[in-house]
Assembly symmetry: C2
Homo-oligomer: 332 residues x 2
């Protein structure tokens, strides 16, 4: 690698590593995107192949941005799974079928020694919101994303809080019904089994299998998706409407627990399921207000994210500056 | 007041303000207790009278320790209720029948301008554990006290985390049964209605009123206390045993939610109910292990407090040094 020590390393690369796609974007020091790339993850090919594909995606984004490797301060990666940010090891990522993959170390090898920092995807998204989105208004907030699953990241006192081992913010596994349906985590009645996209599909499937009659012709066991459920719910479908109402209420209850535990100023609520609209978010807010301790619930704002689809690559790129701050012993 | 500027202000006073008693202790700069006092709170006499009694209790402790007011750096108070530590206002304390009492300001007047810092009692106890108890082993822990009620305080990254308005750590109001009994907070099925001393008495009373037959002669509606319930449970009483088992399980579930949200290294579990023994703590631990995400639950230690009955006055005295650190912009 040409490493010209006279060139300022002012660019950074953010990588969003998901179960379906890898996205990379090159940022200048004002966080403007200079170039980007996106390729399929092909998780079934195994960790070695995925790591090689991440390197390819990064090189492609650099080529398109006309930034030389020597100008790059480093690569930040947000990975879909429990990640130890101190070691850069992805501890458990079911979408990727990974367990204890030393992503930082292996990717640094692939990229000829360029510095790599790794964290879980919801943490980097929370960080992006803190620095460039909701954080201009709030110092204490929970970032929640409700999509296929439900995850979160914590901003406490203006700083990303990761907990003891990087798992803080796993709001999807707050229990809202102790005797409820089995969750992928092994527990019963986690909010994720009711309020995530996959959870809503499963709940609707159970109701149909139990003989419940749906009014909408789209509500068949085979055709069920979060989209068909939301569309049918809007028409008052007898299966879809209660599934969406229950989903919203369950998430509101989990958020009330969060409020009682961590006393935030705001909850930044995003993700594909949330964008489906008021049928979902209205019961979220109603249950949150009803369940939280009055003194803590009254002050909490429920707000949409400040950033769009680039939140993942942006937060990943911000990891580099953030870990510099931590290593220098300061706080943001 | 004689304020001799040449005398080093090396002593501090910690006050534990409870619904029943006010306790004060004078500490030297090595946190050794030099003198103490305890008087009844007499909350029914109103806030003015209670504040005057706090001042009396402080003066008595100073007299007994042979420390002059001029040698005192300040007074820390741990108050039983939601407290805004920034302003020193007790926002809501049902045991004291207080709402928005400016305790810091009023007590500084009563004590001729001595500096006063105020925080909620569970926060000061968590701080004492962090500095002199469990904190020698853990940087990230939840301090829980289960007695008449259930409260907690958060130590995150070695520092007391209070949330946006001082309410962080209200673990007693995590919902464990959404359709459960009404809680004093207005919500249903908070862990406090099952797992606190008062909650266990109410649950046993309901079972007896519902016709359930207790084997122990001490288990009458009139005689019920947490103690009679624990004693009867040890003999396998048909009312007391399930009440204690349910209490433990409910707390374990709430703690699992905490683990999934904040990923602590440890939970420091204390209070009068916990001291009643394994019949309570065994189901707490079982349910915690069963419900927490495996990767987060496996690493959590459930430990007793490192400090005894002086935890409240000790933590209150530590508030003074802690708020100096915060004002100087550092972290502990």
């Amino acid at each position: 690698m040409n490493d010209d020590r006279n060139v300022a390393r002012t660019a950074s690369v953010g990588v969003d590593l998901g179960g379906t796609n890898i996205r990379a974007a090159v940022f200048d020091d004002g966080m403007k995107i200079l170039g980007r790339s996106e390729i399929p993850t092909e998780a079934q090919e195994g960790a070695d192949e995925v790591i090689s594909r991440i390197a390819t995606c990064v090189r492609e984004a650099l080529d398109r941005s006309s930034v030389a490797a020597g100008e790059v301060a480093g690569i930040g990666v947000g990975a879909a799974g429990l990640t130890d940010w101190r070691t850069g090891v992805v501890v458990l990522a079911s979408n990727l079928r990974w367990r204890n993959v030393p992503l930082k170390e292996r990717l640094e090898q692939e990229l000829d020694g360029l510095r790599v920092e790794v964290d879980k995807d919801t943490n980097v998204a929370a960080l992006a919101e803190a620095r460039l989105g909701a954080g201009s208004e709030f110092k204490h907030f929970l970032y929640v994303t409700a999509g296929t699953g439900i995850g979160g990241g914590l901003i406490l006192d203006g700083t990303l809080y990761r907990g003891a081992t990087g798992g803080a913010g796993d709001i999807g596994h707050v229990v809202v019904d102790p005797e409820g349906p089995l969750c992928g985590c092994g527990d019963h009645g986690c909010v994720e089994v009711f309020s995530s996209g996959a959870g809503m599909v499963n709940r609707a499937r159970e109701m149909l299998a139990g003989g419940e009659q749906a009014a909408s012709s789209a509500m068949t066991v085979e055709a069920l998706t979060p989209q068909t459920i939301f569309e049918a719910a809007r028409e008052g479908d007898a299966v879809a409407a209660p599934v969406v109402e229950t989903a919203g209420r369950a998430l509101g209850l989990a958020l009330a627990d969060y409020v009682n535990i961590n006393n935030p100023e705001a909850i930044v609520l995003g993700g594909g399921v949330v964008r489906a609209g008021r049928a979902y978010t209205e019961p979220v807010e109603r249950e949150l207000r009803r369940r939280a301790l009055p003194a803590l619930g009254e002050i909490v704002k429920l707000v949409p994210p400040g950033l769009g689809d680039d939140v993942g690559v942006t937060g990943a790129a911000l990891l580099l500056a953030e870990s510099e701050i931590e290593k220098n012993g300061g706080s943001a």
